[in-house]
Symmetry: C2
Subunit: 84 residues, 2 copies
């Protein structure tokens, strides 16, 4: 079993109200040295056999990310040690 | 400027209908070697000065993750090269 991780984040020029809400709540926790918070998605794709980055890219492009407002990056997760 | 990344994922025993929906759509793309898809959140926290992992942990614990159904992990993102 092998895992590919897709990180989907809003493009930098797109406003992120959800992250902004978290950033605005931080002073109430006494935290003042955070300059920004951005919230995106992390998708873990488990392949039955060998991991296939091209397949993962196709999945991200067609099903996971909206290319108008989001960027994505793909990487192999080599921290998976369980199973075969 | 320094960035800490918080990954929030549903605990393994919690059903993930969103990921399941993506997994169910894959055969239509001709992809059959994916065994599971799990969808979580990736949060990027930018610190104005030095990154503070303890602070990030506090933020994740109080604002970002629901400890009843979610696990989170925290790491320094050393890929940030832009700016000072």
């Amino acid at each position: 079993m092998s895992r590919v991780v897709v990180d989907v984040m809003l493009k930098p020029e797109i406003l992120d109200p959800q992250g902004q809400a978290v950033a605005n709540a931080l002073p109430r926790l006494g935290i003042s040295d955070v300059s920004s918070v951005r919230i995106g998605r992390r998708i873990e794709i488990e392949f039955a056999g060998e991991p296939d980055l091209d397949r993962a890219r196709e999945i991200a492009d067609k099903l996971l990310a909206n290319p108008v407002i989001e960027d994505f990056s793909i990487r192999l997760d080599d921290t998976v040690a369980e199973g075969a």
